[in-house]
């Protein structure tokens, strides 16, 4: 009986110590790991120095949902491209090359990539038109639409030239001049590299793998 008290205190102290150690271990384990700086060396796309932050952009996806770019793509390698479906040259070539490259890669890579197409021609690119067009390349491609002010703001944030509407033969046949690059954001939410027109599918495959593995 006499020794019961110190022994209980002893037990309590040991329990307290264990609890504190466990809490400390958990706290350390749960603390977000220090972000590993992304290494863009060896990628085919030219590097952007300093890297570009992912733009603040809230648009509407082809299924009618509000789409906050930063929230929805958090943790994914994200390819961002601005274009329009009536574009016969640069836009479908970029999309077809990315889709072709993705087909060569396994799900362990492609499941960690989001491809986001933002229309610069919301007047003609209805959600249905965009969905049909994107499905032609890859049904997983995300199509976003918004007002011209949001798009202009994204272009300013990304330091891209603004879009230019070029008149065609009649009022409905205009074309849209726009940046022809694909921005590649790694999981640090920064674009360290961009992909100008002319990147081959083999280079896309190699780079997408590196972008995922280094993230």
């Amino acid at each position: 009986m006499f020794f019961a008290r110190p022994s209980r205190i002893d037990r309590l102290a040991r329990l307290a110590l264990r609890t504190v150690s466990l809490a400390l271990a958990l706290a350390l384990a749960c603390r977000p790991a220090a972000p590993k700086p992304f290494n863009p060396d060896g990628l085919s796309g030219p590097q952007i120095v300093p890297p570009l932050p992912k733009p603040e952009l809230v648009l509407t996806s082809t299924d009618g949902r509000q789409f906050d770019l930063k929230k929805e793509t958090e943790g994914y390698v994200t390819l961002l491209f601005f274009g329009y479906t009536n574009c016969p040259d640069v836009c479908p070539v970029h999309m077809a090359n990315i889709a072709g490259a993705m087909k060569r890669l396994g799900p362990e890579i492609t499941n960690r990539i989001k491809v986001v197409f933002v229309t610069v021609d919301p007047a003609r690119d209805t959600p249905e038109v965009m969905r049909t067009w994107l499905d032609h390349f890859d049904p997983s491609f995300i199509g976003l639409r918004g007002d011209s002010a949001s798009i202009a703001s994204a272009f300013t944030q990304l330091r891209l030239g603004q879009t230019v509407h070029e008149p065609g033969a009649d009022t409905t046949s205009y074309t849209v001049g726009h940046a022809a690059i694909v921005l590649a954001f790694s999981t640090d939410n920064l674009a360290h590299v961009v992909y100008p027109f002319g990147i081959r599918q083999a280079d896309w495959s190699k780079d997408l793998t590196l972008l995922v593995k280094r993230s």
Binding site: C87, P88, D89, V90, V93, W133, G168, T175, F197
Partner: protein, 144 residues
């Protein structure tokens, strides 16, 4: 030859036989001009498509494309890489103009019957000096 290898080769031949052969584009000569490297992309929608070719001018004076058309498309116009419409496509003497993806292209819009990969897309060019020529451009898919 083993039976399985024979079956495999037969399968390949059959599959190959089912695909429509894509006729390669042979160069075309009209007046002092020679046109080669011609092809078109299979339009994704009937709204728009693009065609490409290279024109050499072996003459001593410039020539100009006055008009381009295709019976399956409502309009055809030349655009630069910025998508601005080009009013004049001039081929300098002893020089060439090359249309290629990401650069100058012939934009075709509103297809009545969009061509499919493996088809030939007829495109007629009217030149100021060389006259009129119709090209049969082999159609292929984007990304191929």
């Amino acid at each position: 030859m083993t039976r399985s290898r024979c079956a495999a080769i037969t399968a390949v031949l059959l599959l190959g036989g089912c695909r429509k052969p894509v006729p390669p584009f042979a160069s075309v000569v009209v007046g002092d001009l020679r046109i080669d490297h011609g092809f078109a992309f299979e339009p994704i929608t009937a709204a728009s498509g693009a065609a490409y070719f290279r024109i050499h001018n072996n003459g001593t004076v410039p020539d100009t494309v006055l008009e381009a058309s295709s019976p399956t498309a409502r309009s055809a116009s030349f655009h630069g890489s910025s998508m601005a419409q080009l009013d004049v496509l001039e081929i300098p003497p002893g020089g060439e103009v090359e249309l290629k993806p990401g650069a100058t292209h012939l934009m075709l819009t509103n297809f009545g019957n969009p061509p499919r990969a493996g088809d030939s897309l007829p495109v007629t060019l009217k030149f100021a000096r060389a006259g009129v020529v119709t090209l049969q451009l082999p159609v292929r898919r984007y990304g191929q």
